[in-house]
Amino acid sequence: MAALALKDKLSERALYRSRSAIMFLFVLVLTAVLAVRMFQLQVLEHEAYQTRSEQNRIQVQPLAPRRGLIFDRHGELLADNRAIYNLSLVKERVPDLQQTIEALSALVEVDESDVEEFETRLKRRRRPFEAVMLRSMLSDEERAVLAVNRNRLPGVEITPQTVRHYPYGELFAHAIGSVRRINEDDLRRLDPVRYSASQFMGKRGVEAFYERSLHGDVGYQQVEVDAHGRIRKTIDTDPPAAGQNLSVHLDSHLQIAASAALGLRRGAIVALDPRSGGVLALVSNPSYDPNLFVTGISAAEYGALTSARDTPLFNRAVNGQYAPGSTFKPVVGLAALSHRLVAWDEQIEDRGSFKLANQDRIYRDWSWQKNNSGGQGMVDLNRAIYRSSNVYFYHLGTRLHIDQLVGFASQFGFGQQLALDIADSSAGLLPNPVWKRGAKGEVWYPGDNVNMSIGQGDLLVTPLQLASYAATIANRGRVVRPRLLLSSDAPLVEHDPPPPRPPVEGPSPDDWERIVDAMEDVVHRGNKGFRQNGTAWAYIGRDISYRMAGKSGTAQVVEIKQGEEYDEEELDEYNRKHAWFIAFAPADKPMIALAVLVENGGGGSSVAAPVARQVMDAYLLPKLAVSQVSTGDAL
């Protein structure tokens, strides 16, 4: 038994040892499997995992460049950058979104539209752990309140942001324009690399035209982030290049004066330095606060701006197109002189109305009355300007071939875009027979010449064009392109000026001087008796201390029926006449030329001329006082 038991024990031990050996072999094989797997991961596929690990931890973040500043001619800041603080949420770290938003609205002002816009932003594509803005522009108190409650609001962050700021608010909105949020359409056009850190781009005015220079170049930083998106350290930085600072010709003092002169009336003022074409003031009323587009504008506010009847977003100064009315008369006179169709001493009788041969239609003078007592009597060109005789120019209109008139007028830039750097300015319309057949399907009638000779009909101009026309007369025929840019730290990429305009050909130097004299008479000829004074004298000429040349204009908005009188009281406000006044001064050595438009304002001399005088005074009186003092010293 003992032997058997021993034998059993021995065979059992042998069995165990063989099993144990097999199991150990198994252990070795499985260990080898693990080792091979590790070899695969760490040697064969090492590079792929290496890349993966780097992509995990290293993020390249674009850094927004600082936008270039915009200064006026005196170094006054017109567009600035400032830091604001936004309230943002990191959804992944917020335990209960609804509850957190409720808690936040108890602490700071968060209204329904904020929440709505937040939810829209939340749906957009974003990186995990990217903060999403709930409210912008936190006040200092709100930031303090949030800081105190920080611990019980996980996932709530206060994020700083540098944004555009327009210290003058709505004053320069139409001149400087504004930056606005980059939308999906913009993204399709823009260089995605250059704009990778930008949320805004210039969309109007100087901000739009000089966008490339103002924007600057994007920078990058390589940061190490953890799995929760938190930046642990910065590995490398390629700093952004700030945008160019610009100075513009605008004179903020003059801009303020011009805006004040227009007051609450709808209209526009463009003032140029005729020597350089520099835009000294560019006002379009009503205006809007461009900062609204930076800090966020609610759909309701935006809707109110776009649907308002007085269209505050519309830039009347460069996009408003109106009939120039009588301000066009000097062009017609100069054209007729150039083509030797009239002489300075030729007199034409003005009885208040005009008829084309073989036609019944009566073309009226502005002084026409039902009882035929109107008219200016015998008028030569000088008198036709300062009295603004329609009948005189009707005659010239019939003498001029339309191609002669259009060819001459286009030298002033009518129907064209003359400006060097004014974004999206309109070209107006200088009609001719070809255009009329194409656009209206009608032939050119002699009556079209008649209408055009007093700046009516299809002719359309912008306030900017009329200002540059005034500057051309001030320069005695030398044409300057209106421009905003005065200087920049370095040459700008946008600065690729078109060739200079040739001077206006045709009028002799004497013609220019006599036209200027006639326009001076518009302002200064006074105390001469009934129908002998300049049309604007009574309104601005009595007490003026410098020589101003000007021309009024009154543009019809609706046609007055044959035989009826224009009765302002009966017309809807928006159907009343537009008041124009163009002027430059000092007449012999002009420093400023301008155009004033008061929409539906009525008479040019009575309504627009005083505005022009106010702007001129604001610009010239301080300068003339200084030069008088210095002249006095010299004596």
Binding site: R19, L30, A35, L41, H46, N56, A227
Partner: protein, 367 residues
């Protein structure tokens, strides 16, 4: 002249440390683990101290068990097994629910513990106890009884639900049968049956368990969800390369991309910071421990001692394989810590207790 197979009396181990070689190997692995853990927890002194205390406690338990005679384990095996099974029933009835499964028991006067952990030792003990005085290889009847001994506690653990631990407990029992000479034919039939039952087993799995298995085959299908762990762990290991990024230099772990870096996924920290060299060193140490344990078992005169110490040693290796396989993307993610390295007390305590039994067998190999 001593009898065949007996050791010379001069070689008979004496003193508190019966097997200095195994003890030294374990100490080296634990030291290695502490260094890596120190990095994985970003040198948090409180966490590090807690781990030191746990390991110290584990070593103490190991040395105490090492100095008990194996016959004590033989005598107590049925009682430990029955008591453990009763506790498993208690867990199902009154256990503490953590994250959807009931694994913990909160008894008065005792720290909260997992009875399933006890069964990792109790099940192989019970199977070895049942087989030790029966003819080997076991008869079909004995096999059925053994399967029952294994199946009841394993089933209770799966019900918690804790599939991973259930399988590991079952594996420990099965390894005893394997070492006891279970016929290859039966092993083959079992394999075929399991394969045939696979679709049924699949249906029995919880959704998250199925997801884990699917993730194994295509981690990219849900990179931020189910696939996250495995993508980040293979990235950590793979980016380590041959020599690693250097201790404390691992970006995957220190930037928190790697989940569970100090517990179940700590091998990825080793792979990332110490590279292929670091991992292979550890694997060699593990194989040496397994070899030493199997040697102890093979040279032991008593069947119970052999079966138990051999099975415990192989179970240790199963943990190693399952953990490293899971972290490197070979096996589905189951909650198995890396033996002697991962942060956590329970697993270290059980493993060191197991080695205590192995050392006790080594010490008492006299015929």
């Amino acid at each position: 002249m001593p009898r065949a197979g007996a050791l010379p009396s001069s070689a008979q181990p004496r003193g508190l440390i019966p097997d200095p070689i195994l003890t030294a190997l374990i100490a080296v692995v634990m030291a290695y683990g502490l260094v890596v853990l120190y990095s994985a927890i970003s040198a948090d002194p409180a966490v590090f101290r807690a781990q030191l205390v746990r390991l110290g406690l584990g070593v103490l338990v190991m040395l105490v068990l090492a100095n008990l005679h194996p016959r004590i384990y033989l005598r107590w095996a049925p009682l430990v097994y029955l008591g453990g099974t009763a506790l498993l029933v208690a867990v199902l009835l009154m256990g503490v629910n953590v994250k959807g499964s009931t694994r913990w028991l909160d008894l008065p006067l005792l720290p909260r513990f997992q009875p399933s952990e006890v069964m990792k030792l109790a099940v192989p003990m019970a199977v070895a106890w049942y087989l030790h005085d029966r003819p080997l290889p076991p008869t079909l009847k004995d096999v059925v009884v053994c399967l029952a001994i294994i199946g009841v506690p394993a089933g209770l653990i799966v019900l918690q639900p804790d599939l991973g631990t259930g399988i590991l407990v079952a594996a420990a029992g099965a390894l005893v049968m394997m070492l006891g000479g279970l016929r290859w034919r039966l092993i083959g039939i079992t394999g075929v049956l399991l394969a045939a039952a696979a679709p049924v087993l699949w249906q029995g799995l919880q959704d998250y368990q199925r997801q884990r298995i699917l993730t194994l085959f295509d981690p990219e299908s849900d990179p931020l969800g189910a696939g996250w762990n495995i993508i980040q762990s293979t990235t950590a290991i793979g980016s380590g390369g041959v020599s690693g990024k250097g201790l404390f230099q691992g970006t995957q772990s220190h930037l928190e991309f790697l989940p569970e870096a100090q517990t179940d996924f700590i091998i990825a920290v080793i792979g990332e910071e110490l590279g292929l060299v670091g991992i292979c060193t550890l694997l060699v140490l593990y194989v040496m421990i397994v070899g030493r344990g199997l040697y102890t078992a093979a040279t032991s005169p008593r069947t119970f001692d052999r079966l138990l110490s051999g099975a415990l040693t192989l179970t240790f290796f199963v943990y190693v394989f399952v953990n490293v396989g899971m972290v490197s993307g070979l096996l589905p993610v189951v909650g198995v810590p890396l033996p002697l390295i991962s942060y956590g007390g329970t697993s270290a305590l059980t493993l060191l207790a197991g080695f205590g039994i192995v050392m006790s067998v080594y010490k008492h190999r006299e015929w």
